[in-house]
């Protein structure tokens, strides 16, 4: 590989031939990092159980109240308490994947190993998105199944093939990866653990509660937030035309789901390329 190395007969310098730089090696590397932390499986299992448990509690409370139409009862599978907590945990864990590297300085070791910083950040985003999609899907299907199991005993269950079931199911499954990616992007921008946590809680949970739906501009801001988009997407009934409030559109809410993580990851990639490590 090197003239110098071959000139000095004793050397083995540079003897490992270089294979092509493959993105999937970076994915595998980030996956090793994720699964090698003891906190990962615990956190994921606990949050999944918590979300499913909150769906069970909400359904039982609603069942006790009685006579709602079946389609409305599907809504019980996706209670705010459970999914707001999922937003909090997914956002924080997404942020931690990068913040922990910055706070320990591991990011420098990583960057010397892979000078292509943008590719590292993309790999982190892909692994984070995949992991939280699995968790979100487990939580969402679990929520629905447990809720239906409770309602079936009450002759109020709806099958998973019901037209009003699929959209809430997908929206709830995707909530976790959307928030994890937003957290990751904020983590790259802020690099500081406490600051990142506060900002992601503020952006994902507090911001929408500051705006009401009673006037146009305020409703527009609210509808542009992730948790408001989720609320609209799991809502199975059509808005009352006589209502005084503004309701978000379904395509608009899906667009919010797509734009937040896209902007967060794009910003992260651009920033790591131009900032000193």
């Amino acid at each position: 590989m090197t003239t110098l190395a071959s000139a000095t007969a004793t050397t083995s310098a540079g003897s490992l031939a270089e294979p092509p730089a493959r993105f999937r090696d970076l994915l595998a590397s980030e996956w090793i990092k994720t699964r090698s932390l003891r906190s990962t499986p615990w956190t994921l299992a606990l949050i999944t159980l918590f979300v499913i448990g909150s769906a069970a509690v909400a359904t039982m409370a609603d069942k006790a109240a009685g006579s709602e139409p079946a389609a409305f009862l599907a809504y019980d599978a996706f209670p705010k308490t459970g999914y707001m907590t999922l937003i909090l945990v997914a956002g924080s864990m997404g942020a931690l994947t990068v913040v922990s590297e910055y706070s320990s300085g591991l990011i420098r070791t990583t960057t010397v190993a892979v000078p292509d910083r943008g590719a590292v950040m993309l790999a982190k985003a892909v692994v984070t998105a995949a992991l939280w999609t699995v968790v979100g899907t487990a939580a969402s299907i679990g929520s629905f199944l447990i809720s239906q199991a409770i309602l079936a005993g009450h002759d109020a269950g709806v099958p998973i093939t019901h037209p009003d079931v699929f959209r809430p199911l997908v929206a709830s499954a995707l909530l976790a990866p959307v928030c994890a990616l937003v957290g990751l992007g904020l983590g790259v921008l802020l690099r500081h653990a406490a600051g990142t946590m506060l900002t992601s809680v503020f952006a994902l949970l507090m911001l929408p509660t500051m705006f009401s739906e009673s006037n146009r501009w305020s409703a527009d801001v609210k509808h542009a937030t992730v948790s408001a988009a989720w609320t609209r997407l799991v809502q199975t009934w059509e808005p009352d035309p006589a209502s005084l409030g503004y309701t978000a559109t379904l395509p608009g809410s899906w667009a919010v789901y797509a734009l937040w993580p896209l902007v967060a990851v794009a910003l992260a990639v651009v920033v790591v390329r131009h900032r000193d490590v």
């Binding site: 003239t3 540079g14 090696d25 090793i32 300085g105 010397v112 892979v114 292509d116 590719a119």
Partner: protein
């Protein structure tokens, strides 16, 4: 001098050219130029805050220079999509996640560069961490973390290696092991660049020195040449006839300073070698009971030179 040799070949030198880094009004590295060559251990010396770590980070592309450039094997390091096969670096042993095992930490790095899992076991064995491979890094001593950092640097079997203060926190046995490792890596034809503020360590390990102070180059030369710069070089003579000897030596062109206490007086002589002093004393029938040539330590040379640089710099900023 250049990173590119004959066509198709690469010489694994680190080249730093007019490198400058400013943080706001503070200049951390000031138009620094030097070359680090293969087959030798090159020490990178300077007092704390001299800009050593900043320079290493710029060579590794972690920080963008304000001016100038640094190349490794003829190209900027940042241009490589994967780095471990080109340069191995230990910047700070603390740059690990305490929750991972040594194996997991190295496996993730190896995998990102398409390096086999077997190589991870090899380097862990090589640095003496085979028994701790599956323990979490959080429980490691600083010395063990340094060894893990060395394992990280060796992972890609690179032709160029850079270590920032590698012997910090090592026990004497570990220091000895590291010294041998650096010598061996250089003997294998690799470029070994080693920063330290421990002069004594350099005296035993390095062939060449790059000395900086306040971000500026003070010296770039062999260890022997550097030590010879010290003005402390001279001969110590112990005699009961101090006054007579002083007169004789001064007449012969030496400069003489009295040392020691009355009754057991010693003279510090510079400007004459020991054999000339002995001959003059014999000619004038002066009895001496001690004659020692003082070799300047690297430490003294370093202190002297960096002190100069600090004064010079302070004068400049005014």
């Amino acid at each position: 001098m250049t990173g590119r040799g004959p066509p198709g070949s690469v010489v694994h030198v680190i080249e730093v050219n007019e490198l400058t880094k400013r943080y706001g009004a503070k200049t951390a590295v000031d138009q620094l130029s030097f070359t680090v060559r293969p087959g030798q251990v090159t020490g990178f010396l300077g007092p704390n805050g001299a800009g050593k770590s900043t320079t290493l980070r710029m060579i590794l592309g972690l920080e963008e220079p304000t001016g100038g450039a640094a190349t490794v094997s003829g190209v900027p390091f940042r241009g490589h999509p994967r780095g471990l096969r080109h340069v191995g670096a230990l910047l700070d042993a603390g740059q690990v996640h305490g929750g991972r095992t040594a194996t997991a930490h190295l496996s993730a790095l190896a995998r990102s560069n398409g390096i086999s899992r077997r190589r991870v076991d090899e380097v862990l064995h090589e640095v003496g961490l085979a028994d701790a491979a599956n323990r979490r890094i959080g429980g490691f001593s600083l010395g063990m973390k340094q060894r893990l950092g060395v394992a990280t640097a060796l992972l890609g079997d690179p032709p160029v290696l850079m270590f920032d203060e590698p012997v910090n926190g090592m026990d004497p046995e570990g220091v000895l092991w590291m010294r041998r490792l650096f010598r061996r890596l250089a003997a294998e034809g690799r470029t070994v660049f080693l920063s330290s503020h421990l002069m004594s360590e350099m005296e035993n390990t390095a062939d060449q020195l790059v000395v900086i102070g306040r971000g500026r180059l003070i010296a770039a030369e062999s260890v022997r040449d550097f030590a010879a710069r010290s003005t402390g070089l001279g001969v110590v003579v112990g005699t009961r006839q101090a006054a007579e000897l002083t007169a004789v030596l001064t007449a012969a062109g030496a400069s003489v300073e009295p040392e020691g206490s009355a009754g057991a007086e010693k003279l510090s002589v510079t400007g004459l070698p020991a054999d000339r002093i002995a001959a003059l004393a014999f000619e004038h029938r002066i009895l001496f009971d001690e004659l020692t040539t003082r070799t300047a330590s690297l430490e003294e040379a370093f202190m002297e030179l960096t002190a100069d640089s600090v004064e010079y710099q302070a004068g400049q900023t005014r």
